[in-house]
Symmetry: C2
Subunit: 330 residues, 2 copies
């Protein structure tokens, strides 16, 4: 596999699985104390990942859940936010400005803040009431958090079976990446230099489609993109489709799958540059259909990571290169 | 003013104002009966307009409010939805497929549905428990609905003063359109043929930026766009900015104004194709700053309508022309 360190991959996955007990402790404590609602607060990539959790919780649980873009939360507010709210944030650097402002507001109100931070000796690590240090393995943190809250609320009795299945993921995801890697290479060599890329998703993958377009293609590769929800696609963006338009569809297995399937049927008729990445083709190790739907974000993330690495090579554009972000003050 | 019928404009505005009493009756009745939460459910343009109302209600009121994209609502669901929920929909044609499916689900659960429909003798007109027939004047319907609910919840005591101010809007909006029309012409002649247009907004205008990009520029003009929230802009899309990139910023006056201001400061340094439409420059008839912030969506809508008409002329592309939407079955 191109630009891939197997040991590092398994080390990160193992770190993720190892967080289960610590996260259960924190969530169980909060549930014992009581809480009124969960606020997933992020910006850019973290907003998108947290939105995926929000989507899952609102669809499967009676827990009151809200997702807020950090800058908008600080500027506009949300009257449902009180001292009894629980905030979940995540930050690799621990110093994301907009998330810091939102957390200050949350702490002033007396709310608890679960913070997944790469290094707890940072402003966000210090600001969280429940900081948990871990580099990478983002989905493990968020899944254990969301599903433990749901389990404690009586809304996800399959928790033990589900988290047991998650232990299969490191091997299953590795196999998926290995199987997908040549296709990722194909995508990058065919479409890596396209002037504009449309990225479609739905359900618990919509926010990831938004994220992959903006936080990887735009930010890390300077590729022009438009992401659009597969349901929304039929109310505007479809008019731009024609031969030669590059479209990438991220198809998962949750109950919104028919939305992307409909878009794919339409797109096959109108463009000759269509790529569909379907989680269904990967991770046969996970058998339970409900769990497959719930885990689609974790599978898709690992597949798209392969595309990123091949885009980097084809475009001769290092994924780390920025011209403005954290290089210019604004 | 280009392609403008003054009589029709004032007739539509007057129809909007005239709905106040009827809407108050419906909302007051629902409030007397009791309700648990409001679900704004739409798709494409209506999703975006209803999202603006959701944004205003959640920021200013303790009412539990949810906005759902109709196709996603039907596919994924939301556990907060019960027989005690109140749905608000709007449809000109009265037969939007995805909204019809969502309303069926809502009615099966026993929920009440306020439906603003162009013609009540349509599937959606028949499906709503509280159908209100009116062509156009969308914002008046939605504002009276949202603010009456907030007033009845004790969260907007300024209701009478605010709706009194709204009576000034027809004249104020007409003046705004007339003043902006030459600038709209400038925009269309300079940037109408750009290969890609970025549209930014924040706060109660973010959803409108999304809508103007997708439902007007893409759907009605086949212009390639990317809309991005001004806060999110700094976490990905900014990397694509450089000389020659066309950006349109929709700036309003609610508490999220600093987000677009920050984006404008940055954009002035990196692109030479920046257009900022600022509601602050229009409608001096509305004086109260809080009301100005709340009414920014109504002002911006009327300004952008001028751009649409000039784009139509410059691009020689009728706003009504579709190649797929409602012309092809999919």
């Amino acid at each position: 596999m191109l630009t891939f360190n197997k040991e590092e991959f398994f080390a990160e996955e193992t770190r993720g699985l190892a967080l289960k007990e610590k996260i259960e402790e924190v969530v169980d404590e909060i549930c014992r104390e009581g809480y009124s609602n969960i606020f997933w607060i992020g910006i850019g990539g973290t907003y998108a990942y947290l939105s995926q959790m929000h989507h899952i919780v609102k669809a499967h649980s009676g827990i009151l859940t809200f997702v807020e873009e950090a800058a908008e939360f600080s500027a506009a507010g949300n009257k449902q936010f009180t001292k009894d709210s629980v905030v979940v944030i995540t930050s690799v650097t621990g110093d994301t400005r907009e998330v810091g402002e939102a957390v200050s507001i949350a702490r002033e109100k007396g709310a608890r803040v679960i913070g997944y931070i790469g290094d707890v000796n940072t402003p966000l690590g210090q600001a969280a009431t429940h900081p948990i240090e871990c580099v990478g393995a983002l989905f493990y943190k968020l899944y254990y958090t969301a599903f433990r809250f749901m389990y404690n609320a009586g809304d996800f009795p399959e928790y033990d079976q589900f988290t047991k299945e998650m232990e299969r993921l490191p091997k299953a995801l590795f196999n998926a990446k290995e199987a997908f890697d040549p296709l990722a290479g194909d995508y990058a060599s065919r479409y890596g230099m396209e002037p504009l890329t449309y990225v479609l998703g739905a359900g618990n993958l919509w926010d990831y489609a938004y994220c992959y377009a903006m936080c990887v293609m735009e930010e890390c590769q300077w590729i022009r993109t438009k992401s659009v929800n597969a349901g929304e696609f039929f109310h505007g963006t479809l008019e731009l489709m024609e031969k030669g338009v590059n479209v990438l569809v991220l198809q998962g297995e949750d109950s919104s799958r028919p939305l992307t399937e409909r878009a794919v049927r339409f797109l096959k008729r109108v463009t000759d540059k269509l790529t569909v990445i379907d989680t269904k083709d990967y991770c046969p190790e996970i058998v339970n259909p409900k769990f497959r739907g719930l885990l689609s974000p974790m599978i898709m993330y690992q597949l798209c990571e392969r595309i990123s690495k091949h885009l980097e090579k084809e475009r001769k554009h290092p994924l780390e290169m920025r011209r403005y972000y954290r290089r210019l003050s604004y």
